[in-house]
């Protein structure tokens, strides 16, 4: 029980520190991602051991899809907008995906085999 409590406290502490920084400096940067970077640096420096956060981080990551379904259903309030912009959205997103696949794939292949 205690290990769940400790890992929950660490994760929440990182999140609130992230929120505090975002708020104090009036940044548009998503505060949860700040929290993630804080936890990441704690893990890298060894201040927090990876098995200490595991009791809470593992189930959170495992069921993450469940956590954003309610927000996703909010699309229901924007169906009109989606319909009006369907062409624009599909064109821009699909081409962006193709360009990224090509850029990343070819670039890394080139960097890894400089002789070819």
């Amino acid at each position: 029980m205690l290990k769940y409590f400790i890992s929950a406290i660490i994760i929440l502490a990182c999140l609130f520190t992230g929120k505090l920084i975002s708020y104090a400096f009036h940044l548009d940067f998503p505060s949860a991602i700040f929290g993630m970077l804080i936890l990441f640096s704690l893990l890298m420096t060894g201040i927090v051991k990876h098995h200490t956060v595991l009791p809470c981080s593992a189930p959170l990551l495992k069921y993450m899809p469940l956590l954003f379904i309610p927000t996703l259903v909010g699309l229901i309030e924007h169906l009109g907008l989606l319909k009006d912009n369907l062409m624009i959205i599909s064109l821009s997103v699909i081409s962006s995906c193709i360009v990224t696949l090509a850029v990343v794939g070819l670039m890394f292949q080139k960097l890894n085999k400089p002789n070819l």
Partner: protein, 230 residues
Amino acid sequence: MIYIGIILTIVIFFVFKAIQNKTNWLILNPILLTMLLIMLILISTESTYSDYANSNLPLTLLLEPAIVALAVPLYKEFIYIKSQLNNILITCTLGVLSSTSTALCIAYMLGADNQIIASVAPNAVTSPIAMTLANSLGGIAALAAAIVILIGVLGAVFAHPFLKFIGVSDKAAQGLAMGSACHALGTARAVEINSKIGAFASVSLIISAVLTSIILPILYPLLMSVLKSI
């Protein structure tokens, strides 16, 4: 009956997840199917979204702690890829720049408004991060997340054949490309194809997500002001 909404979400999600585990078809994405079914239920019972959202508040509140928890896989991958870190960082940065700027520029040129542009820009990152990013840029979180998942389903099917078609034969490069362009679903497919492709896909999934969260809030206003001044 405030609990109905949250019970609905959980039950439907696990049913679709069980179906997918049985059939192993990536097209039967449980997130997408759950979303569609709940939307149908809300429409047919004439319920309001705000009632449903209130009922699901406990789930939604856990999303931010879950994003923080993403630091754990990032940390694990970091140790694994240390020797190739530089090349991976360069490639993923390029990937992030190309995915966000391509989507943003095309949407802008086709005449989309700011709300739509901010929702398509983070199309290459994993949905919870795309949601927070779209929100902070003034887009629609739900739209951004739906786009991300659709791209993931498409990418899971077409990305690997496409990469082979354009001559990317290196397994590490294939994985990296699938993770950064098609995020979690591309990564799931990559793991199926080959464990090396899968490992690199999960590395680039998480590194691209972090890089996008750092780059996009700076790049978005910059590109928008450049595009508007042309």
